[in-house]
Amino acid sequence: MTTAHAEAAEGTLPHEPEKASLEGRNKVLAFWLFLGGEAVLFGTLFATFLALRNQTNEGPSAAELFHLPLVAAATLLLLVSSLTSVFAIQAMHRGNVAQLRNWLLVTVLLGLAFLILEIYEFSVYIRHEEFGMTTSAFSSAFYTLVGFHGAHVAFGILWITVLIGQLMHKGLTVVTAPKIYVSAMYWHFIDVVWVFIFTVVYLLGKVG
């Protein structure tokens, strides 16, 4: 703490500004706990999906529906966005605010591109395949699981955008750093969930 204060007084932040204050450490810890809860949330959604994934009620099945190249493109976008958020945190640890901002912006844009692809995918299913929320138990489970993930992505985009604004306004401090760090944790979590969705929903649906 004392060294952290001394460095801050000289105008440079400590190496890990997100963990420089008790509030910051609390925030990071509580966010790990929150992600534990989120894991249960998605776990339950996955269990529901697995239980209902063959209940197509004479509607379209996964094998007929999914178009893997599109999903693969979306996956690539999201995985790369996780990497760019790592670059953002590395820039933060170097104290380079401009690079931090740029990498966060790239992350948000990649997330946005992912979300647009997902909305396009859903709209194709609904308009051309007559595959809506009410079609079958499979469709309900699909839209709920993948839609929940999509809502998480959308929230993450809004959140990180606000944080970029805050970063520009207030600079990198021991108050803003934990928020940015935690949002990067969130973004990785979303990414991990998507890896499971890609495997369990799309790959298993296509070949299983």
Binding site: L22, N26, T44, T48, N57, S140
Partner: protein, 612 residues
Amino acid sequence: MDWITTVDHKKIAILYLWAGGLFFGIGGLEAILIRIQLIKPMNTFLDAQTFNELITMHGTTMIFLGVMPVIFALMNAVIPLQIGARDVAFPFLNSLGFWTFLFGGLLLNLSWVMGGAPDAGWTAYTPLSGKGYSASHGVDFYTIGLQIAGLGTLIGGINFLATIITMRAPGMSFMRMPMFAWATFITSAIILFAFPAVTVGLVLLTFDRILDANFFNVAGGGNPVLWQHIFWIFGHPEVYILILPAFGIISEVIPTFSRKRLFGYSSMVFATILIAFLGFMVWAHHMFTTGLGPVANALFSVSTMLIAVPTGIKIFNWLFTMWGGQVRFTTPNLFAAGFIPTFTMGGVTGVMLASAPADFQFHDTYFVVAHFHYVIVGGLVLGLFAGLHYWWPKMFGRMLSESLGKWTFWTFIIGFHLTFFVQHFLGLMGMQRRVFTYLPNQQFDTLNLVSTVGAFLMGVGMIIFLVNVFLTSRRPADAPEDPWEDGRTLEWTIPSPPPEYNFKQTPLVRGLDAFWKEKMAGHKGMTPAEPVGPIHMPSATILPFLMSVGIFIAGLGFMFSRDEFSSSIMSFLFNNYIVTALGLLITFGSMLMRSLFDDHGWHIEPEELEGR
């Protein structure tokens, strides 16, 4: 206004206590109405629909809106004090947790005046809770109201976990932590891993009902048993969310009034952890009769019975603590002592129910009703009474009357056993639960009458407690720091009620039962771990209240989004999700405000601290 914007854990504790007490009263009145209806065969006091609504709301209200907030009240009042902290880790979130709970509870109870309460039982089994059998908005109030209230519980759980992990006073290792703090820690962990499951379950049911999804609708390929799995993988751990804090309270009260340290402290800690772990492994014992098959039934049967082992360890440790101690039967200790045999009886019938073949006989009879009331009323509610009488002077600075407290105890516990002991026999003789009446001359008549008389006696006990609270509130707040004189833990080292900052100087902890250790060493108080300095406090804020109002409005808007309204303005607002969006806008706007304007808080200077 002060109460709406407060972020002080001690004030939030009092808010939880009043709100929880209010809902507890509503749930109690519902119970009394149920018992009046069942006082004699073929009674016409209530009709079947009202009865269904009453049993559903009684169970839901008592569990989610009655006892859980009172547990949270005690945790909020005591935990930071017991671990030597100035506040919880996230005071803002603490306030948010309370307000979401309150608005969720209000939404649920609005159903009484907005076209019918939920009527599918507190477990909301599908397809009974589906649109086909429950077409009114009742179950929507259940799914959305509980969703909002559950959010508050989850927030509270994460907050306590972080608080206990990072904010313990110097010297307080985990194995020097008071048992109530341990119980809170483990309970919060269960909340964290159990509540997200019911969150999903409620979302799925909401989608089935409002968006015509097919999760539980067999005609669309759905599976009703899925609901039971999701509900009970939350619902069984929920039982331990309720009972572990009571265990924690008993483990505080008995050593204090026995003038002995808790027998087998470390075995108590590990028993608590083991119970929490096993609590997640046994959910399907609620589902023996759904046809899971003999293998699943056997496994869940055995894992359920295993829970009796750590629970037995706890029971014996309490008895050994009292053994040879200088036991004083004050009101709190009376409740704690009453807890032990009563809870044990509930545990014994639990082992009986865990036997799958026997469960086929007991299932959905009053035997089950008797069992879980022995555990939850005879266990948890007695534990809460013990805790409330024990910590009341710390929370309010006033001692509750001992003689009225003893009256409360005796009327309540006699009423309790009258009400529920006979229900074991009613169940064994074949009386089903959830039926609104029964035929005469099945030998049910007398026992039901006894049960109803007992329920009224419990009501009398509650009224005596309220009278006690009222009379106490008119007396001056002059309770000493350590009113029971044998206080063992840190909360008894500071004034009653504590100042806003709790500890002027963070205490140094030198062992288990930190205060007792200092007393035995001949010291008057704790050794401070830091010099007197300015204390940083968080600012009061209205934002948590506004966020919760926003969620409340959004919930109402979503619930009525598919309705037909007579006025075109109303249908425009609701059917286009405008009300929903407005509510979400308030919530997200408040979140944005929180994000954009940092709270720098304020400081209490050393001169002010000395001035007191």
